[in-house]
Symmetry: C2
Subunit: 336 residues, 2 copies
């Protein structure tokens, strides 16, 4: 099928796409979001503010404002600080009561790229499309991906269980998830979870993704709003430093600090949702990630944090990703 | 770094490896095990017998006898049935009391390729190397990988949490694990867990692996010893059909059948190890995987089983993997 004779590599690449009738072209993502590189910086609560999103835009990738932790007044402050004409998007988790108000605010401030999550893709997609927006929805299973496509989204973020923060209930890893989502839909798939360098991007594309969404790598950037204490914790983590906790309530991947260890112990004793909620209390995520209490606060991060060894400016991170990707692809044997 | 001018692609590939001082060449694996393709069919209890290992040898990959479920007498029967001169290896899990006897038997029958697991790599590696054997050890974390290298193994199998059957306690996914193991050691790394087709192989190589170990895909082969009922269950699974159970005892990934559902319910109620052991009883794995009781038996399989849609002969599976790999690599953009 791939005996392409003496044709040029580029022609072979295009032909190969046509022959496979594939949706796997990174151009679909760069065109969809008007970016140079097919990379999205995911929306992270208390971490993804106007500084990070703007730095991403300048580096040629899509930066999302993480609206999940923002009351409308705080979101407004962030939106006001984004320089006019900067190409940024927003992540709206649909499980909070403010989501409609957040969307309306974002529209008012000229945002036209929406990544919705943690709710039904049917809820706002048609309406956002009518407003001329581009919509992606985050999923954790091929079944949900098919529902997103039916709801009319432009792209799907397929997120594996290694991702930081709130997580799907299916516990499907990125390696197992991406090819199954790619096979289940005809629209572009953005891989998320466990991607920390250019090798990870190449792996995601090999699995059939057209773009990647990375959170953890950008949480450890100079421009993220994470508290310096939290950033240092990210750099210190090892491969086994995170844990998927609160599976019976809302699954979330955390650094195993003192707070998380207490929660895990309660879970292993078979604690009820009410007992867990009491232990959790309020404002733990803000306390840990924004205010820097690394003992009593909740520190949401992905499993790939073990790979992150330094804090860098966004521009440097993106430049590294581009060269790491090229190196990873160049060393791949063409045939087995 | 990769501006290689007008040189040929192959020369560019070799130069690139030299320039990166990388251990990432699939040749290291094909030479080490004297196989055509850098693919290992993993040792699976009740599934990997002489038929499957022999079929793998004929298809140009390394097939491992899964000694974990074999008392010495049964292992002897399998070893006797392998035609003389057939290039097969053996997986010896070190948690069973028979492992020394299993190794001695395998040596007597001419086996020279050993994949040890579930125990310390220090236990037998030096001795096996003195007997002229090639030794790989299975790990689930970069820390353990470094210990394997120190113990003198020839290669490391780095297995992510999506893998079927017995699993490490670290719950690190293949996507997060492989680059961290590759960075931690200088010897070749074989990626395992979540690899079901040629896209998965390409992804593993992009992450820095030099070979892959696949179990689930070959459990659903004509030549595996899995009961026909179990094979049909593998084909029927969806992406979310498996679960990592018995984390507090010995973590194992299973199909969520009636037996597994009962175990999971007990775990969520905070059952003790003794209560779980009582429910488990004896012989559940044999009952499910060899005898075909898909309700009351234990059905160990990887998360990637959702991708497997048909039973095929080993030769067909390998032929598909080779063409799928080539297609996945051909469609990868050279630059981001």
């Amino acid at each position: 099928m791939h005996n392409l004779g003496g044709r040029s590599p580029f022609r072979a690449y295009i032909l190969s796409n046509i022959m496979n009738n594939t949706n796997n072209t990174t151009q679909s993502i760069t065109k969809l979001f008007d970016i140079k590189y097919p990379i999205i910086c995911g929306g992270m609560i208390w971490v993804s503010g106007h500084k990070l999103a703007t730095a991403c835009a300048h580096a040629g990738i899509m930066g999302l404002i993480g609206a999940g932790s923002m009351k409308p007044e705080l979101l407004k402050q962030h939106l006001e600080k984004i320089p006019a004409g900067t190409n940024v998007g927003i992540n709206i988790p649909l499980l909070y009561p403010d989501s409609q108000q957040q969307i309306e605010l974002a529209l008012k401030y000229g945002i036209r790229i929406f990544f919705t999550s943690a709710g039904s893709p049917k809820k706002y997609t048609s309406w956002l499309k009518e407003q001329g927006c581009t919509v992606a929805h985050v999923t954790s299973s091929p079944k949900l991906a098919a529902k997103c496509q039916a709801a009319g989204v432009d792209a799907i973020v397929a997120e594996g269980v290694e991702a930081g923060g709130h997580n799907g209930r299916d516990e499907i890893t990125t390696m197992a998830l991406i090819p199954q989502v790619v096979d289940a839909v005809d629209i572009p798939v953005i891989a998320a979870g466990g991607i920390g360098d250019g090798r990870g991007i190449a792996a995601a594309f090999a699995l059939g993704a057209s773009g990647v969404q990375m959170g953890t790598r950008f949480a450890a950037s100079v421009e993220s709003s994470a508290h310096p204490n939290f950033k240092q914790e990210i750099v210190k983590t090892q491969s086994d430093s995170t844990y998927l906790a609160l599976k019976t309530v809302t699954p979330v991947r955390l650094i195993k600090n003192q707070f998380a260890t207490e929660i895990i112990a309660l879970e292993q004793q078979g604690a009820t949702s009410d007992q867990l909620a009491e232990k959790l209390g309020k404002g733990r995520a803000r306390l840990g990630m924004l205010e820097g209490d690394i003992t009593k606060g909740e520190l949401e991060i992905g499993q790939i944090s073990g790979l992150i060894k330094e804090l860098s400016p966004v521009e440097q991170i993106v430049s590294n990703l581009v060269s790491e990707y090229q190196s990873a692809v160049a060393t791949l044997p063409k045939v087995l």
